[in-house]
């Protein structure tokens, strides 16, 4: 694939994965309602694969629990992501993958915003603007090739 033919960051730093969320007694109690929290949102996006490497965004510390904010009252979710290098050309694709995954996985009542962590990318403003533009996102998702690449990142287990 063209997109993977040359690696921008050939030797990324690897970090450990966090443990799976343990199931508490409340989780198993039918009568208790579980609110959405940062960890739940993190679990939705931690497995997304980096477009360049066979590694997850979690392993590269592109997404972290501390970069996620959720407000169950205002129905808002904000995700900050940190590209591995400041000139990463895949940042927009990564942001788009996170956005698509959250659109598919969170109830429609939530307003989702995905932004680059402050000062982590040279084109931070441009990327944030594009990711916030609903029409541009929708148009991008109409592109068959692009959605295939995003699906590859979101569900690597299906494409191997």
């Amino acid at each position: 694939m063209e997109i993977l033919s040359s690696l921008e960051n050939q030797n990324p730093t690897l970090y450990g994965k966090c443990c799976d969320r343990s199931v508490s007694a409340d989780d198993e109690d039918d009568s208790v309602a579980d609110l959405f929290d940062e960890r739940e949102v993190f679990d939705l996006i931690r497995h997304i694969r980096d477009p360049e490497h066979p590694l997850s965004l979690e392993e590269l510390h592109v997404v972290e629990v501390k970069g996620i904010m959720i407000d169950n009252v205002k129905n808002e979710v904000k995700v900050n992501f940190t590209p591995t290098i400041p000139h990463c050309s895949m940042a927009l694709l990564i942001g788009l993958s996170i956005r698509v995954q959250l659109l598919r996985s969170l109830p429609a009542r939530f307003k989702v915003s995905v932004v680059v962590s402050p000062n982590s990318h040279r084109s931070e403003a441009d990327i944030n603007k594009q990711l916030a533009d609903k029409e541009r996102v929708a148009a991008a998702l109409e592109n068959v090739n692009l959605i295939k690449v995003i699906n590859d990142c979101i569900m690597p287990e299906l494409t191997g």
């Binding site: 690897l14 450990g16 039918d30 579980d34 939705l44 109830p107 569900m155 299906l158």
Partner: protein
């Protein structure tokens, strides 16, 4: 001996006939051979008789003659021909090589038979070799002929090695050209088995490289074995046979090193793995003066592969293995200079990866280095003295990191323990830091740290000095005395169990002085301590020399005079748990039975307890305790040999008169209408449940009728359901294990039917329930032993479907039938279990239940459906397939209107399993199922129902895309509300399922 009348005359006509009709000649050859062996004829006469045939102008006749001669020579014993005769035939066959090519198989067979002869003269093998080399192109021949040629060469090398060696490079070159390019795996296996010896014993000289290339071309072996032939040659067979060929001659060393380095850089995983194996082989077969220097070329490549991210973990671990092997080889062969260079090289390359504890490759690198450290004492000292201070330099900040450091300690110090290295000497002040840290961690408030520290300290106890040891022992003992957290207590007990294996005297002293003499003042505290102490004795019991503590405690606490109900229950429960854990440890169970007489003690206590103990009734009223005691005794009894079982059973049975008991219970029933099973009969079940069918038959043969009558009466009329259950189980055990069917058992089964039917006719619900339970036990017992009466038993049982008040019992009964019992009716307890009982159960019960389900009665229909669901849960796919069309509507009816969460979940789980096993069968019903499952996923009352429905929907995505794609957008839309389910676990499942539906057809 051959009959003189049938002896074959050596005349030309005889062999002419053989040439014309070779098919029936086998027996005749034997006769000719026997005549030659007995001296009635001679090989000369045979040759004379064959003269015209062997020199005939006709090719077919000539070939027939050669075949006859070859077959006779092959059948001859090896001591019959003399040297001159052998030489004559060899000359003949060598000349025959110039004749037609179709003679070759017979020539090779003939030569092979000749070189095997005992009186093989000198100078003939060189003649054969020269003839073959000149007139025979081996690799152009069929596989069988090539194989014959290799066998011939092998025999020649075995019998006359010096003669062939004298040929020098001519022989080596000729032999290599014969075997070169062989491609059949059967022939290759033959060659690979022989070549190492050839390479060792024949001077290769300037042909060493050619010889190496003749075999190295097969490395790494790329071969796929025939999957239909499980016994055929595999890739691994060829590969492991090839390795010794590559290292057989010490002159190959430089070629091998180049070869492994080249192949190791390949992308093929198998090339890497084989190269690593070959590297190990090199550092075993080659002398150190040849190979030691090469380690400096090999090690950097291996170290590079061990760096995180450079190779898969499946390759990195074997790399570390090979490095460890090389280091061990170098130090063993006194190549310490090279060894030091190697280990420095490894450490300097990998050091940076253990400089940051946060990085994911920190622990994997420590693991690799620890593996290398275990190679030899020098390496271990080198690495330990550098890595342990390094660990302190990255001193942890958080709990998870501290537990990581403790894991590293365990990895690094384990080799020191096995290599008996004194860490205090090599680490100096750092060792004090280590022991101080461990000591602190053993007192740490964080459970994870504490548990890890206990484990590490236990594994390195031999490295601690006396003072440190005592401190650690006391930390463990204090936890045993008073720890309330189960995980910490269990870890402490497990650590002491490990230490008891290595230092039994020290642990015994600790028990005697610190635990047995410990006596808390507070009553409650004392009771708690006694329980902990007993549990600790249970943990120690399997260690040699420690069961006596358990035995003493049992006799002390469940004696006949002093015992509290609560404590007795606890002790019996602990014994059962211990025996369950050690149920396969025959040695331990034998000690309990033979030396400590625990079985006798428990049985006698149980028997006598009813009369003597003031609280006995209460103790035995606890069904769980009675059950625990039953199974504890069963576990011990079933581990005994038949003789011991018989002795024990006879002792117990000789004191019981079942005839009298039956009569007593009968009279009692007449007067009171109520019965209670004496406690001895629980022990009766414990014994019957554990003994072998032979023993059971021998013990019960005389009294079978009375005991069955007695147990049947108890099973129906006992007032306590638990007593009825025990009686049912005793009956089922007898029916399953009793060996004499027609004479002994069948009348008793008939008696049970009669009794059950008489109960049914009384129309008393409580009694009918008991009778139904008897039938269920009987069915299970008969099903397991594959008895013909099962069908009749089901018929008797299903009559009761007309009584709605029995329906619950029937549902429960089918549930019990479909599950296996851990303690009862299993192979471990010597029950007779014929394979395929699940299939038998399903094919017996389901057609009958399906028939009954056609009734108008909603309750009967419902009972049949639930019963089928229970049977489905453990049925095999093949048998389900048989009834698929009938079952599907029933399953749908459960999903539509069943109020029991358990039944709906069970049904959904089964649908999921059926979908995994066979998606095609569901294609016909996709729409019906999808619509119902989406409703359950959204509106299911309990979250486990919603989760199970979502999991089924996920499985549906695996159906043929053309069948499910039309539903893609509908299902994706209908699952949206599930993303906002109030339970997180449901939401997680919904995300997984919906995502899969969304990408359907686009991946």
């Amino acid at each position: 001996m051959t009959d003189p009348d049938t002896r074959v005359e050596m005349d030309p006509n005889f062999f002419w006939q053989l040439v014309k009709s070779p098919s029936d000649s086998r027996e005749t050859y034997r006769s000719v051979v026997t005549d030659i062996t007995n001296g009635h004829s001679s090989i000369l006469k045979v040759v004379e008789s064959l003269n015209d045939i062997l020199t005939n102008q006709d090719l077919t006749i000539r070939r027939g003659g050669v075949e006859i001669l070859t077959t006779i020579l092959s059948e001859l014993p090896e001591n019959v021909l003399n040297a001159e005769e052998i030489k004559y035939f060899i000359d003949f066959y060598c000349c025959l090589l110039l004749d037609h090519h179709s003679f070759i198989p017979f020539i090779l067979k003939g030569l092979l038979a000749l070189v095997k002869m005992q009186q093989l003269p000198d100078h003939v093998v060189s003649k054969i070799f020269t003839a073959i080399n000149l007139n025979f192109i081996c690799q152009s021949q069929p596989q069988a002929d090539r194989r014959l040629c290799y066998q011939l060469m092998n025999v020649m090398m075995d019998k006359k090695p010096a003669e062939l060696q004298a040929l020098g490079p001519d022989f080596v070159c000729g032999y290599l050209s014969i075997i070169d390019s062989e491609r059949d795996p059967r022939n290759l296996m033959l060659l690979f088995e022989r070549l190492p010896e050839f390479f060792k014993n024949f001077p290769l000289g300037h042909l060493a490289e050619d010889a190496f290339e003749a075999v190295s071309c097969y490395f790494p072996v790329d071969f796929r074995s025939n999957p239909k032939d499980p016994r055929g040659i595999t890739r691994d067979d060829l590969s492991s046979a090839l390795m010794p060929c590559l290292t057989a001659n010490e002159n190959f060393h430089s070629y091998v090193v180049d070869l492994v380095l080249e192949k190791f850089t390949s992308d093929l995983e198998i090339a890497k793995t084989d190269s690593l194996i070959l590297m190990k082989q090199c550092f075993r077969d080659f002398p150190s003066d040849k190979i030691a220097e090469s380690s400096l070329t090999i090690i950097p490549v291996l170290v590079d592969a061990m760096k995180p991210g450079n190779a898969s973990i499946e390759i990195q671990q074997p790399c570390a293995d090979v490095v460890a092997h090389i280091l061990s080889y170098l130090y063993y062969h006194n190549e310490s200079n090279i060894g030091e260079k190697v280990i420095s090289l490894i450490y300097s390359n990998l050091e940076k990866f253990i400089s940051d504890i946060e990085l994911s490759f920190f622990l994997p690198t420590v693991r690799l280095l620890a593996k290398i450290s275990a190679s030899c004492s020098t390496t271990c000292q080198f690495l330990t003295s550098r890595m342990v201070p390094k660990l302190f330099s990255v001193y942890p900040q958080s709990t998870s990191q501290l537990s990581l450091v403790l894991e590293c300690f365990s990895l690094l110090f384990t080799p020191c323990v096995s290599l008996k290295i004194n860490c205090a000497d090599i680490l100096n002040s750092t060792w004090e830091q280590v022991t101080k840290l461990l000591e602190n961690c053993c007192e740490n408030a964080e459970k994870k740290i504490l548990v890890a520290a206990f484990k590490v300290s236990t594994s390195i106890i031999s490295l601690l000095d006396t003072k440190q040891k005592i401190i650690f022992y006391m930390q463990l003992i204090n936890r045993i005395k008073s720890e309330t957290d189960a995980e910490i207590w269990n870890t402490s007990a497990d650590c002491l169990q490990l230490l008891a294996k290595t230092y039994p005297e020290e642990v015994k002293n600790l028990i005697d002085f610190e635990l047995i003499n410990y006596n808390p003042i507070d009553d409650k505290e004392r009771d708690e301590f006694q329980k902990r102490l007993f549990q600790f004795f249970c943990v120690l019991a399997p260690v040699s020399g420690f069961p006596k503590y358990l035995d003493t405690a049992v006799r002390l606490h469940i004696g006949l005079q002093q015992s509290s109900i609560d404590f007795t229950d606890f002790i019996i429960d602990s014994i059962k748990k211990l025996l369950m854990k050690e149920k396969t440890n025959k040695f331990f169970l034998a000690i309990l039975h033979d030396e400590l007489k625990l079985t006798d003690y428990l049985l006698k206590w149980w028997e006598a307890g009813t009369d003597i103990l003031p609280d006995s009734a209460s103790i035995f009223d606890n069904e769980q305790t009675a059950r625990n005691l039953t199974y504890s005794i069963t576990i011990i009894i079933r581990s005994l040999d038949e003789k011991s079982q018989l002795n024990l059973a006879v002792d117990v049975f000789k004191i019981i008169d079942y005839s009298k008991r039956f009569m007593n219970s009968f009279y009692y029933l007449e007067s009171q209408g109520d019965l209670s099973l004496p406690d001895l009969d629980h022990s009766l079940f414990a014994i019957l449940n554990g003994i072998h069918p032979n023993v059971l038959t021998q013990v019960l043969r005389e009294d079978l009728s009375h005991i069955v009558k007695y147990l049947t009466t108890m099973a129906v009329y006992c007032s306590r359901p638990f007593c009825c259950l025990v009686a049912c189980r005793c009956l089922a055990t007898i029916v399953n294990k009793f060996l004499e069917d027609s004479s002994g058992l069948q009348p008793q089964i008939e008696f049970i039917y009669v009794s059950v039917n008489s109960v049914f006719s009384k129309n008393k619900t409580s009694l009918t329930i008991n009778a139904v339970n008897i039938l269920f036990h009987l069915i299970k017992s008969l099903l397991y032993r594959n008895h013909a009466d099962v069908n009749r038993c089901f018929d008797e049982l299903l009559i009761t479907l007309s009584q709605p008040e029995i329906h619950e019992t029937i549902k429960e009964g089918f549930h019990e039938l479909s599950v296996e019992d851990e303690y009862f009716l299993n192979a471990a307890s010597h029950f007779r279990i014929e394979s395929g009982f699940r299939e038998r159960l399903f094919s017996c019960a389901v057609p009958k239940l399906l028939e009954f389900s056609k009734t108008d009665s909603k309750s009967v229909k419902h009972t049949c459906t639930i019963s089928i669901v229970y049977l489905l849960a453990n049925a095999s796919p093949n048998i389900i397939q048989k009834f698929f069309k009938e079952i599907i509507p029933l399953l749908m009816s459960v999903l539509v209107d069943h109020e029991s969460a358990e039944v709906v979940t069970l049904t959904l789980d089964k649908i999921k399993t059926m979908l995994v096993e066979n998606t095609v069968a569901f294609e016909e019903y996709v729409e019906t199922f999808l619509s119902r499952l989406t409703v359950l996923a959204r509106e299911g009352k309990f979250m486990r129902i919603r989760i199970a429905a979502l999991q089924c929907l996920l499985q549906f995505t695996k159906l043929n895309p053309s069948v499910i794609l039309p539903f893609k957008s509908k299902i994706s839309q209908e699952l949206v509300p599930c993303l906002d389910d109030k339970k997180r676990l449901v939401r997680q499942e919904a995300v997984k399922t919906r995502s899969r539906w969304l990408v359907l057809g686009s991946m």
